[in-house]
């Protein structure tokens, strides 16, 4: 059996075992959060890491997924799974809209445009009170499955599926195309690659995955407020991708795990918690630019 399949099986076993190791509702809740963050980090990595498009607005798609699915269920009585499907579609469409900007903009321009996108989405969620309830919030949201460990298996299962999907994608010619766009868009064009279509693809897919993560968020918390999707969330997602290792498949997973558990483990530090977080972010970017994955590779190279 190839190394890939073995590591895949190991991952499955670890994921399956986690709720047995962490049995309290609190830690199981953190596991669910971690699984959602893995999805988010993977989605962002597709856009930033593999396609090289600077996207600071991923929180918008996360929020659309959460709100569309919740509103369809609560106000219109839809079934959760159909509502989620619609929410994923909505998020994907919004991603395509952002891609329209990406076609014409590069670098920091795109970064700020995507930020603007996220701010606008956030403001719409706050102000369109008839539909979203705005700052009053939506309460009493039930998760699609009863227990926390069941929810974890659901979200983690989806995360594993998405991982496999994306892994195959980046190893395929599509992945080469995306990487070509990342490295040098103009040369890629001279090779006949239609940058616009592939950027749309990356943004759309990335947005859809983020929207998918969003569908499970309100049921997990029980409460939905717009503030959960302000632009700080985009930065947290980006931090996960970068700390883990941008442009690799396992990097975002590691980043999501580390940055989900680290704040919880730092809770004992009280006020210093966020300062340590900021400092850690700085240090990783300065000294481990390829993230944890690169540091691990460097370590392996040193040892062997």
């Amino acid at each position: 059996m190839s190394a890939r399949i073995i590591s895949f099986l190991i991952i499955i076993i670890v994921v399956a075992a986690l709720p047995w190791l962490l049995t309290t509702p609190y830690w199981r809740g953190i596991l669910v959060l971690c699984a959602m963050n893995v999805l988010l980090a993977l989605s962002l990595n597709l856009v930033i890491g593999y396609t090289g498009q600077l996207n600071l607005g991923q929180s918008a798609f996360f929020g659309i997924g959460a709100y569309v699915s919740t509103i369809l269920v609560k106000t219109y009585g839809w079934n959760f799974w159909l509502a989620s499907l619609a929410a994923v579609g909505a998020a994907g469409l919004l991603g395509l809209a952002l891609a329209a900007f990406a076609v014409r903009l590069r670098g920091h321009y795109l970064a700020i445009a995507s930020l603007g996108f996220a701010v606008i989405t956030y403001q719409v969620l706050i102000n369109w009170e008839n539909v979203t309830q705005g700052v009053r919030g939506i309460y009493g949201i039930l998760p699609p499955v009863g227990s926390t460990s069941a929810l974890f298996y659901l979200v983690a299962g989806i995360a594993v599926l998405v991982y496999v999907l994306l892994d195959n994608l980046v190893r395929s010619p599509i992945g080469d195309t995306l990487r070509a766009i990342r490295e040098d868009e103009i040369s890629a064009a001279s090779l006949g690659i239609n940058g616009a279509i592939w950027k749309a693809f990356a943004f759309g897919l990335g947005a859809a995955i983020a929207g998918l993560a969003g569908c499970f968020y309100p049921g997990f918390v029980g409460t939905l407020v717009p503030d959960a999707f302000n632009i700080v969330e985009s930065f947290t997602m980006m931090a996960m991708v970068i700390v883990g290792g941008m442009g690799t498949m396992i990097g975002p997973v590691i980043g999501a795990v580390v940055l989900t558990f680290l704040p919880e483990l730092l809770r004992g530090f009280g006020e210093l918690r966020l300062m340590i977080y900021g400092l850690a972010l700085m240090l990783v970017v300065l000294f481990m630019p390829g993230g944890i994955v690169q540091a691990w590779m460097a370590l392996k190279a040193r040892i062997s």
Partner: protein
């Protein structure tokens, strides 16, 4: 032989006492926003609770008070995570929290299911005590309890006929504004405009200009945090809208504004009428003792705010429940529901059937004078 026997008995008795002593603990979880902008509430809340713990010397009626603080950062996600954490790790008999309405609402169903009492001392939202939760108790006046006296008295006592609502765009701000509107309009008043502002708005000149152009505005009910309210008042005075600037409109506020606001706003605060629940100048012994102790611990130039006082009161209530024989969550809930006129710094506590405090006798109106002192109004 007899000595050994006696020693053995002594050892057994000591062990028994020791075991019992270990059992005599009241475990209290405290969810406060300690990080982020919400820390405005959490830091002050913690001060109040710490002071109470100091004074109680950490125990009541032989029961040790074990407190675990958690940072819920004013957000439903953090609040639900930390409440689960505290339920796992501490297995508390009671949880005090949160300050922000969103977070308080988020943890209510979880605590309800865990059958742990939730004592809230900072949220305004009506939903907290109107959703049928049996374990929620709140000593903070809700949107209706503040809105009714403000709205009605604006019409009847102040003679106001037109109002412009100014409120921060949060759950609490919206609920408070709704409360005022409902009762002001019911009395016959007219709302000329509802103007909201985000917590990140710094400059209020444009808003003040807009209000100045609305024509005759009698009263300006304002619901926001002190930092923004100071700037708002200054802008309104500058635009000659409010009394403090030579205009005729009267600003009205809720209990959110702490003592010391008037000094910060300066001349603009003249004529400001608001309801006050915690008044550090109040002559009641419990209030004066609290202020003295607060200053001794946190500095002589500090004056406690209602956030300090409310948090302090939660511990007083827990202590009182324990004194009346409560030893776990169910008995705390029982004692709370039977509280009648239990005196604390923010008044007298009697919980209604839905867990909301019903005695509002301490809430009174004050008007800021030209010299920035408070004058009590007998409304």
């Amino acid at each position: 032989m007899k000595l050994v026997f006696r020693l053995a008995i002594l050892a057994i008795v000591c062990a028994a006492f020791g075991a019992q002593a270990q059992d005599r603990v009241i475990r209290i979880g405290v969810l406060m926003p300690i990080s982020g902008p919400g820390s405005y509430f959490g830091v002050m809340g913690k001060e109040g609770i710490d002071l109470a713990l100091d004074q109680l010397k950490g125990s009541v009626s032989g029961y040790r008070l074990q407190v675990q603080y958690e940072d819920s950062a004013c957000s439903p996600l953090q609040a639900t995570n930390t409440v689960k954490r505290v339920l796992d790790q501490l297995k508390p008999h009671i949880v005090i929290g949160e300050e922000c309405s969103d977070a308080s609402l988020a943890i209510a169903p979880i605590l309800e299911q865990a059958k742990v009492v939730q004592l809230n001392a900072g949220s305004v939202t009506m939903k907290l005590t109107e959703s049928g939760y049996k374990y929620v108790f709140r000593i903070f006046p809700n949107g209706e309890q503040q809105g009714l006296p403000l709205g009605r008295n604006a019409y009847t006592k102040l003679g106001a006929r037109t109002a412009v609502l100014l409120y921060e765009k949060t759950n609490a701000g919206v609920d408070s504004a709704d409360g005022f509107e409902k009762h002001f309009v019911a009395a016959g008043g007219k709302i000329l405009a509802r103007i909201d502002f985000g917590r990140d708005v710094n400059d209020f000149t444009a808003i003040a200009t807009r209000i100045a152009a609305l024509g005759k505005v009698d009263v300006l009910p304002t619901f926001g945090l002190e930092g923004q309210q100071v700037r708002l008042s200054q802008a309104l005075a500058q635009a000659r809208v409010v009394k403090g600037g030579g205009g005729s409109a009267v600003q009205m506020g809720s209990i959110w504004l702490p003592y010391g606001y008037d000094q910060k706003a300066g001349a603009a605060a003249e004529g400001y009428i608001r309801i006050v629940q915690f008044d550090p100048t109040e002559k009641r012994k419990i209030v004066q003792d609290f202020v003295k102790a607060f200053r001794a611990k946190y500095g002589a130039e500090r004056v406690p705010t209602h956030i300090n006082a409310h948090a302090y009161d939660t511990m007083l209530l827990v202590a009182e429940a324990v004194r009346r024989g409560a030893t776990d969550s169910e008995s705390i809930r029982d004692r709370f529901s039977r509280f009648r006129n239990v005196e604390v710094t923010t008044g007298k506590i009697s919980f209604g059937p839905n867990g909301q405090t019903t005695d509002l006798s301490v809430i009174h109106f004050i008007e800021t004078q030209k010299d920035l002192s408070w004058k009590g109004l007998n409304w």
